[in-house]
């Protein structure tokens, strides 16, 4: 658009009836309210961050963490971290989430819990399978992010032997199957079944 045509457009804009502009008072009030909200949000953000860092330092974690080697794969490298809240021997089906929950995250948790609790009721009663929901943003649980290469909310199967974690598998396809509950739960059931049957 040339400068002349822009000028013409600008002139025609003058002729067109304009919507009622904010009057001085409404504008000032809105500006004050939004700026006050903005400042409160930024202060809350900073306070939250500072508190988060402080609580991470001492902590009384229920788990013992040592560094593990990161891996780009969905399974394989055995973490050296011990989760003391699980049975010494058996498989743990973890659902890892963050503090902020979203619709899809809650759906994954609900469908996975349903699939595992209905299809593996016997194994759960026998202690061969345990269902655990973990917030990875809790200071004691952040190690799970590197242990199991978590990039988002995840369902991970872990085999424990003598209280130590061994083979694990991240069920990555849960995010691809979110549109189909039957396919999703079939995937959870078949993956868990194969994992339970597989030898260490």
């Amino acid at each position: 658009m040339t400068y002349q045509s822009q000028k013409k457009a600008h002139q025609s804009q003058k002729k067109a009836p304009k919507p009622a502009p904010f009057n001085g008072r409404a504008r000032t009030v809105l500006r004050f309210v939004l700026l006050a909200f903005l400042v409160t949000a930024v202060v809350a953000l900073l306070v939250h961050e500072v508190r988060g860092r402080t609580t991470q330092t001492p902590g009384t974690p229920t788990t013992v963490s040592t560094p593990s080697t990161p891996s780009p794969s969905d399974s394989g490298v055995i973490p050296t971290t011990v989760d003391t809240g699980v049975p010494a021997n058996g498989v743990v089906a973890y659902y890892f989430h963050t503090t902020a929950r979203c619709t899809s995250c809650l759906t994954i948790e609900k469908w996975t819990a349903e699939a595992i609790q209905t299809a593996f009721a016997t194994q759960i009663t026998d202690g061969m399978l345990t269902w655990r929901v973990v917030d990875v943003e809790d200071a004691a649980n952040t190690h799970f992010i590197e242990d199991y290469q978590l990039v988002s909310k995840s369902v991970v199967l872990v085999r424990y032997t003598n209280g130590k974690p061994g083979k694990w598998e991240n069920l990555q396809k849960v995010w691809q199957l979110l549109g189909d509950q039957t396919a999703f739960q079939d995937y959870i059931k078949s993956s868990t079944s194969s994992f339970l049957e597989a030898q260490e």
């Binding site: 304009k18 949000a41 990161p70 979203c102 899809s104 990875v136 943003e137 990039v151 988002s152």
Partner: protein, 231 residues
Amino acid sequence: MNGILAGAGAALWFGILTSISPCPLATNLTAISYMARTINHPRRVLLSGLLYTLGRVVAYTALAALLVASALSVPAISMGLQRYGNLILGPVLIVVGMFLLDILSLPTPSGGGVSTRLQHRADAAGIWGAALLGFVFALSFCPTSAALFFGSLLPLALKTQSRLLLPALFGIGTALPVIAASVVLMLGGRATSRFFDKMTSLEQWVRRATGAVFVLVGIYYCLKYIFGLAI
């Protein structure tokens, strides 16, 4: 060859899956309202949609290239972007919305000539704001986009040795609802212009609505991610 084609199809599909999940609904709505700002220039609306897509493509491609070329921890980057991207996005959207609503303004030198020219330049540069918006929104990962990008697309890109094409196709897939909306807006803008001569007035209202959407979505992000409300 078949492997690359299958990979390309999967990458595009992962992008589409991301775009239709409830997760990026608020940012898609914000982007669409941004496109609608220039509704009386239908071509500009479409161009904004394409630039928004370009912004997303650049963000995903650059991030994939960075992660492949460096020894950065993928989980740490993914979790960090999800956490801090969403924390920062709320206040940023509120500030941008306040500018669009003319509640905040940058001090400009007085004098009509300079001021008018500045305004024209700002309008001309405004269309590139769509690309910036696409770039920023792509990097503020939500759980779905993070899972599909870091967990599904990246391993696929490494496996097929297609480290640029696949992230780019993923970016196009994630922008599809906004591209579709910009086409609808373009056609709608043309149709509406037959009935409304005074489109400038309409544009001013749309611009104001855009500002309101930015502010409301910003407040939503602040309440959800900073104040931790379950909404």
